[in-house]
Symmetry: C2
Subunit: 194 residues, 2 copies
């Protein structure tokens, strides 16, 4: 089968499907929250992540002010809310989580808002940022990580249903496309040792 | 449900499942190839990607010499080969792709090796790198992108079966865990316009 050239403006869609995270940040009583898919680990020790965000986003500006933020994973059952968070701006909605029916964890006094419905969260401290074209890459240290009972050494996929983002389609009305995973995993035993 | 603290040494597993890519590079007749999951877009225009690699890897050293590399997506049918590429080093296998039964595209004369079996490829030019703890983050520009017939504006998931990496488990003998996706996607229509 032959390859076709892919318009460079669409190259990022080759990375689909990707598990989205929701980035949350609180500044002066306002709660910002936006879905992001350009987020990945950058180091084991110290534990670092990188997240690329377009600086026009109000949530980005709030992160710059706070210097810290939270990365939240919501599972497949929250697909609709993750999509909605991408549509509305913290400019018009000072309480973005509440606006889509998600709750800020109230139990403990944390410096930044954790989503109560999240399967896992990372509390992050911004270390540096690099301008990369249309986006800013924020490098942050993971200060604390928490996950629900179905994560031990790994996710228990019989209980955790990952949410996979597959793009925003539709001409008249935009629609977020999400996929889920098959529960069964395939094991490939290493032959060469190590 | 309560959250448990996650050992910071395991925080990267919260990002699972992730679609792995295979990074290829050719230097002096040798072909390096390694699976990587810490790879994501960093900018739409110019089209930039970031990939974090531990600098001990022979493939990393080859990228430093070449100044360019290719990002290849292999689908679920190639799970075993992607796993094997992670086990062997370019030090002992000067032709890593051939060692696991994958082919370098011969048709066209390209500056770097493209995997013939890949569903899509990005030809990348290294722009800069940043040390981030245990890893080096390479920022690269996408010079060319190619994909097989089943990618148009988006992947056609009735034909493309994404490969999802879910960790390396097993005590006695390591085993790579891979997942696949459900074919059906869920559409969440945007309510707030935009």
């Amino acid at each position: 089968m032959t390859w076709n050239r892919v318009d460079r403006a669409r190259f990022h869609r080759l990375f689909y499907p990707e598990v989205p995270v929701v980035v949350t940040v609180g500044v002066n009583g306002r709660v910002g929250a936006m879905p992001a898919i350009w987020c990945m680990p950058l180091s084991f020790d110290p534990p670092l992540i990188g997240i690329a965000i377009a600086p026009e986003h109000e949530t980005y500006k709030m992160i710059m002010r706070a210097g810290s933020f939270v990365v939240n994973w919501l599972d497949y059952s929250h697909a609709e809310q993750v999509g909605e968070l991408g549509e509305i701006s913290a400019k018009e909605y000072p309480q973005k989580l509440a606006a889509v029916g998600l709750n800020v964890l109230k139990k403990e006094k944390r410096s930044q808002p954790l989503i109560e419905e999240a399967s896992a969260v990372l509390e992050c401290r911004m270390l540096e940022k690099h301008r990369t074209g249309t986006h800013e890459l924020i490098v942050a240290e993971v200060a604390n990580a928490f996950a629900k009972d179905y994560f031990h050494d790994y996710w228990d996929y019989s209980k955790y249903r990952p949410l996979l983002y597959a793009g925003t389609t539709g001409k008249k009305r935009k629609s977020w496309r999400f996929m889920s995973t098959r529960r069964k995993t395939a094991g490939v035993t290493q032959r060469h040792g190590s």
